[in-house]
Amino acid sequence: MKMLNIVLSALRALQRNKMRSFLTMLGIIIGVAAVIAMLAIGQGAEYSVKEQIASLGTNVLMIFPGAQQQAGVRSGAGSATTLTEDDASAIIRECSAVQYISPGAFSGGQIIAGNLNWSTSIQGTGIDYLEIRQWPIEYGDFFTEQDVKAAAKVCILGRTVADNLFLDASPVDQTIRIRNVPFKVIGVLTKKGQNAMGQDQDDVILAPYTTVIRRLSHFPNLRYILVSATSLKEISTAQTQISELLRMRHKIQSYEADDFTIRNQTDLASTATETTQVLTILLASIASISLLVGGIGIMNIMLVSVTERTREIGIRMSIGARAKDILTQFLIEALVLSLLGGITGIILGVVGSTIISSIAKWPTFITAFSIILSFGFSIAIGIFFGFYPARKAAMLNPIDALRYE
């Protein structure tokens, strides 16, 4: 019996019991669709976590002045241990792996706007701060190079500050007073929410760092420098370049320790990625269980089918079917069931994930790997769970099978 004929007759046999074949397939369909969707959702989660971490700034380095752990043992004297604006401009000029830089200063205090007031921190930043933090302006503008040079009294409000000081009114072009210094509000940031530590990142006011240093904090040096590398991979290069540059600029001897600290967030990123990968595996294994249950469903139906079609098997044997032919026939039937189920499941899984991502606004990724995996899995299930019933059919005694009522 040729393979094509066997497949055709298997299809015909399944067609004769449409409802039952469909219900049997449903197990595999749901299993495969679940595996595909779960993997897609998991990978989507991985992606969005990566994205969020990138928005926290995984390619971001923070440079702090002084070796903080060596409080009493400062090596250099005076200004050499701290970061200056010149250091910042040297870094952006000379370190090739650095893309953006934002010198940092900060202050805090009571902010007054009209009859409302609010206490928050004022971050002095450079013009590329928002690029580094990947934090867009909701409306209004950010300050310019000109504002930085002139130490202009302009500021941008975080969402929380804007809500508290201006309620529903637009803060742009309004004036607020920070420690009695009037600032013109030129923009409002989009809502960023809490950071990993649970702090409200929107409870902030941004102003040019020059303004903060000269008008508010009166602390002449930089509190920190925020730097973003050209890419995630370039982080360590950037770190080395900055370290070498600063050591040279600060005239640190080779035997001396750094008078600055560079921190990065790659640890956080890798932990988060690992977590989501574990989540993906967990989801996929739960889904695989449903695939397994689907396989048992196939075995169950094939066993019923063998019993029910004992007479047919007897007829086929009496007209010349060998045990091998019967085995192949039932195995192919199981395989066709699981394959059709698998293909339908893949389609359903893909459509399902697309719907999930459009409704839940959750990115989903369907990889070739997950399709091949579930396809292969459904074939394996067809063979594995189809074999026992098929063998049972093939081993029937033709006389008994013919007489079976």
Partner: protein, 263 residues
């Protein structure tokens, strides 16, 4: 194809079946059941044999062995020169496919499968191309007078028509013998005679037919009677004046137009 050469028939001088001292013993738990106690017969090409006997006489067991569905405990069964007792399960299946055509009491057609596909079925298990398979199946169906109903399903056919499909199926591979096990057991008397008419016609065209029946009326259409009792042959005689189905039909009153009636 080694198997084909194994099945190719040496010259047998017209003897199709040679059975010698055949016994069959079933084990039912501790008890041995002697279904056949030494059977020896020869059947030549072109014969029309009726095997008769009450139930329990061993005729069904004999039929199973003849049909290569079962193998003898002792003794030899040589079909066209091939010692069937020495064949494997798969080789027996090949013999059933190529040399034996079965017709059963209960028709044993695949339900929800058209007449054509039912008849094609034995050819599936040989190496026949789709085109040849269809041609042969149609030819066989035409032989039994069902050329116009090839796409009907068994449940759309009367009992007599279903049995004719079964006969067509048994013929489609040009077998050496057609084995009919109570082929008229489920049919009314008129249809029974019609089916016997088909067998007679096939026999006239040279096909060897072995018919198992317990009805003397039906056995009368055969040319030779073998009577079984208690696992032994009680009688083996030539039927000098077999009835002719076409004549019997003429003498029967017409009750109903059975052909168009669906069971």
């Amino acid at each position: 194809m080694i198997r084909d050469t194994a099945l190719s028939s040496p010259r047998t001088n017209g003897t199709l079946i040679r059975i010698e001292h055949l016994t069959k013993v079933y084990k039912l738990g501790e008890i041995d059941v002697h279904a056949l106690r030494g059977i020896s017969i020869n059947v030549s090409k072109g014969e029309f044999v009726a095997i008769m006997g009450a139930s329990g006489s061993g005729k069904s067991t004999f039929m199973n062995i003849l049909g290569c569905l079962d193998i003898p405990t002792k003794g030899s069964y040589i079909l066209e020169g091939i010692d069937v007792g020495k064949l494997s399960r798969d080789e027996l299946a090949m013999i059933r496919n190529k040399k034996i055509g079965f017709v059963f009491q209960g028709f044993n057609l695949l339900s929800r499968t058209s007449a054509l596909e039912n008849v094609e079925l034995p050819l599936f298990y040989g190496a026949t191309s789709t085109k040849v398979r269809k041609e042969k199946a149609i030819e066989a169906l035409e032989k039994v007078g069902l050329g116009d109903r090839i796409h009907h399903y068994p449940n759309q056919l009367s009992g007599g028509q279903q049995q004719r499909v079964a006969i067509a199926r048994s013929l489609v591979n040009n077998p050496s013998i057609v084995l009919a096990d109570e082929p008229t057991g489920n049919l009314d008397s008129r249809t029974s005679v019609e089916v016997m008419g088909i067998f007679q016609e096939l026999n006239n065209n040279g096909i060897t037919i072995i018919l198992i029946t317990h009805e003397p009326d039906i056995a009368d259409f055969a040319k030779r009677h073998i009577v079984f009792r208690d696992g032994k042959i009680r009688a083996d005689k030539v039927n000098d004046r077999p009835k002719t189905a076409s004549e019997v039909i003429k003498s029967m009153p017409v009750i109903d137009d059975e052909e168009d009636e669906v069971e």
